[in-house]
Symmetry: D2
């Protein structure tokens, strides 16, 4: 008999849902018990409900599973559940996740609940203490379970690199992104929109980068998050790359540490996942590449099994303090991998 926690994936047929399935194969603590999706897919075999877009083959036993509808009754009927990963689309996520959270721990990749006061927005390397919020959440909402959210993909990788810069009194962050196609899900970006082109707009993305980072890097004080007090300004673009968001970041610090010290701060940064040796934790959250033309999405997105953020081209800046490039795998660290790491953090804390 398996002692692994039984996992239900809500939104299992989508691109992020598929990545959850892929990453949970062989996971030491979790096993997939239920795949749920919207009415259109419910009742079908997973292989018929889903256009599998992972490069690895669809696992055979997953292919044959019947998709449950995304409501508690249907999911419970389909199998045992200990915890829930949700990658539902925004509009659906709000009420459905709340329904599940009344009973189960829900780890959500959706934006619906991220900015609510009693909902933690977790990057385990940065703010593991924010998990405390769920006690307040449970009390306020009368839930047995809870909702813990993961940030937007382009925010996650930026925030991870900002954490070690906080010690130098971070004040301002300007970022221009070049984001991968998989960030828009599947079918997502039409090929006619992106061939020989860049699309300088991603709905809601700039606002997310400008606000979520402040909550993530804020401090848990007296049962609430006090937002960090630096400012972020973002300009977001979609480019013709499959996976891996690349970001040009310009940073203003109150201190002016030499570049070597900044490099060291990036490379030496470790967080709770590394200390706790969580199964999905990369050995190094931030990898520094020293080649003059790196990081590059195709070459660097899989470092640390897609869980490391890769920086490079660290150089002084005549207006701000310094600038650098930052790359992360948007559907691993920026989505399913990040969600699993969060769940692992809750497990070791005895909360899930």
């Amino acid at each position: 008999m398996s002692m692994k926690r039984k996992v239900a994936i809500l939104g299992a047929t989508g691109a992020v849902g598929q990545r959850y399935i892929q990453l949970l194969q062989e996971h030491p603590w979790f096993e997939i018990s239920v795949l749920a999706a919207s009415e259109r897919s419910a009742g079908k075999k997973f292989k018929d409900a889903c256009n599998w877009v992972m490069e690895t083959d669809l696992p055979r036993e997953i292919a044959e599973m019947q998709v449950a509808n995304v409501d508690v009754a249907s999911v419970e009927k389909a199998g045992d559940v200990d915890l829930v990963f949700s990658s539902l689309p925004g509009d659906l996520a709000g009420p459905v996740e709340a329904e599940f959270a009344a009973i189960y721990p829900v780890f959500s990749k959706a934006s619906a609940h991220r900015m609510e006061k009693d909902v933690p927005l977790i990057i385990p390397e940065i703010n593991p203490d924010h998990v405390e919020l769920i006690k307040i959440q449970q009390r306020l909402r009368g839930w047995k379970g809870f909702i813990s959210t993961d940030p937007n993909c382009s925010t996650i990788q930026m925030a991870i690199t900002l954490k070690p810069l906080m010690q130098f009194d971070l004040r301002q962050v300007m970022v221009s992104t070049m984001q991968a196609l998989s960030g828009a899900g599947y079918p997502g970006v039409p090929s006619l929109d992106i061939i020989d082109n860049v699309v300088p707009f991603i709905s809601g993305e700039e606002d997310k980068m400008e606000t979520e980072a402040l909550k993530i890097l804020g401090t848990y004080e007296g049962g609430a998050i006090r937002y960090a007090d630096f400012k972020v300004s973002a300009s977001c673009n979609r480019v013709n790359v499959k996976d891996g968001h690349l970001e040009s970041i310009f940073v203003k610090l109150d201190q002016e540490p030499p570049l070597e010290q900044i490099e060291a701060a990036f490379e030496d940064f470790r967080g709770a996942p590394q200390l706790l040796k969580l199964p999905s934790a990369p050995a190094q959250p931030i990898i520094v590449r020293r080649e003059k033309n790196r990081p590059q999405p195709r070459y660097d997105r899989d470092l640390g099994n897609g869980m490391s953020v890769v920086v490079g081209r660290i150089r002084t800046d005549s207006i701000m303090t310094f600038k650098y490039m930052c790359l992360g795998h948007n559907t691993v660290r920026g989505a399913a991998g990040g969600g699993i790491l969060s769940a692992e953090l809750y497990v070791v804390n005895g909360l899930a």
Copy 2:
């Protein structure tokens, strides 16, 4: 008998050289008289020396012309010359352009002489009075001809949009570029480097954007250029787009005009080429797109026959004053088209 000025193109077989050839077909004032290139091509028919990468067909009479070597004697032997367009590679451009400038007006797209004190760096809409520098140049160097230079392609489009912002007391410019493949010439970027990828480095490009803009937007005073006093910080990237550089620009102004006033300043901007009705001048140097997801390279690069710069997504900024996207056709406005427009300006001034 044609009364058009006879033109020699140095570096005619390269990607920019080819664009010169394409744009000079049917030009009312100029006609191609000599095509020159390095030793490897000299002596061959143009069609055999060149891998023609323009989408329009190689004109028949150009195909059959014999390529001259890039020295004055060979060029003069090949045909009459009134003025010279140079798109030579950087290392070759320095001495060769000087040799020609002793006799002829040379309009150079190379970076070799751009930052020299007595060499004008011209964008006709911005600094038509800088052409006065050539009198000093001729006196100092004892030349009958002169060298006038065009800025780097990513700088040109940015600088055109900065000009109308000068009235609001421009202080700081942060720019992250997404530059097209054709900016690297031919063969240029290997396809294996750019498929499913972005390259966050272009040799020398950031430095050019940070310094050239100050000279271009500087003032001609007492026989010299006084550099503009704002600061530029650039981060340059190569993306998988054929033509059209796209730039995320963040701007700090001392004034805080409403966005409508900035939009109007962009749209109403006109310069010498428009007033003088130069043949290659676009009706509007800056076009503002109001759709939420424009400008885009594939859709907007050919506006104004590739000579207009296109801006969009003008919005306020929490750190600087406002931010916007800027697109220009890098081998038309940013190279051959810009060079021809410069030459037209000199012609109406009686200098070429």
Copy 3:
């Protein structure tokens, strides 16, 4: 007062519908009177109903037109109609086109009616006499109008090149295609499906190429089409190209003419549109490129304003008789341009 024929476009918001709009700007005989689309779009301004994907700007007066629903009553209420272009999706096309054909000449790009016995499948250069079928169609169906259909895009360009080969007793045609993204409409192919990839399957396409060609190149005899008696075998692939289908064609002839004679047959081929000087007719239906590496989609798709088919690499074959490459612009010659040319043929025949 305009004497042009008033045109309604059914399926106007789709990629082919947009191409119709683009190509009908400035047409000497036709003017757009009504834009119709399915319920989802009906009632909206065209600019709000449509994601415009043409590189030329959406014409202003088109942008403001209100979209009618695709039924006769709604269309007639929206404006006067002399003839109808339909680019409706397959399932919708069947009944809707029939409703309109009871009253109006309908030129259909849909596959619904193509293979019906009394429906002409027209390529004006090949089978202008097939228009005679509409008299039988009108009699059988009791219609005042009629349906005339255009072939599948990949079939059109192949068939045009096969026509001049008929004289050498064509027996077998094997073709492997590399088809452009725009052939799948908009949004069409998801970018995640095609980046760094080829998709070796296009639903229904091989069957269309194998059967339609025989009807097109058949003969009109005694009120019916006798199919041509050669065989076609097709293998269809989608590649990462915006416009322009490229085809590897292997041909078996009973005769063995020298390659020069085949080249001449291609180049000298002219049909009714050229003789009648129809407004959309290219001067040369087939252009032969002699460079060793042409035709190429990006360089050759716009030849003859996208209405010429371009062949190259004509060479002998050890198994069949000879082989060649064939390129056509799939949304111009292969769709809207072909449809307009058909309508022009009917007009000069006094049938529309």
Copy 4:
């Protein structure tokens, strides 16, 4: 002390050379001893001589190795050598490989010697007995070593699928390829040539496919290869895909087995590498995909660690007997992986 065979790689800095390096990491029988390249690279550290284009990182100890010049004296000076892998460019390969073959077993990916009478052209699954030719070669040429060659990449994958079809009396093969960028090496295809494009020409490729296959599938009789007696006609195209050649293949057999029998013949095919359990042998040389739209390069090229050939869309053909799609990883099975597998075959035969 390592008992592995010491390997020298000629042409180590090229794209195929790099793939050799990548695949030989952790190889149980071979270890890299010398990296050699042309004069331009000789004497430099490998990391400085080479633009590493593999997605896995350049191994540290390889990075620091000094590149030897590609002559026997320089290579021997650089390290011990038991056998040689050559991925030299064609012109250089001829004399250099001969120089090494006088002393060492040389496994060549170059085309220079492939079609010579006494030189085996090996695909271990197909013609392991052809290795016997080297005894004749050594006798004729007075060599202690020998040259064994690997076929052209697009030929290898096709030939592997043809082998199990021989039993049905194969007569004719028509193939149209869609070949990956990495097949042209590095820098290889300029990005400006392939963006939004297909190039329907690869120098020498069609001829190689049409002739090499006959030698590979020929029989070793009386000290010579008797060529197979079917015919091949090829049409070769370059598409915008990083790795993985895709081929549309039409086949004429004298027998007409049902498709199920053909599928079974593909799937059940095993050769010497499988029987001998060679380290680089895939479990299954040919994998059959049954989805209607597979194989696809991005999804299927890495099956069997890039050593399996993947077929799909097996269907009857109205002109030939049947048609199918065939995919192979062109730099693994089609180059370095194939070369290593050949060497492994010689080792177990006691020949290297």
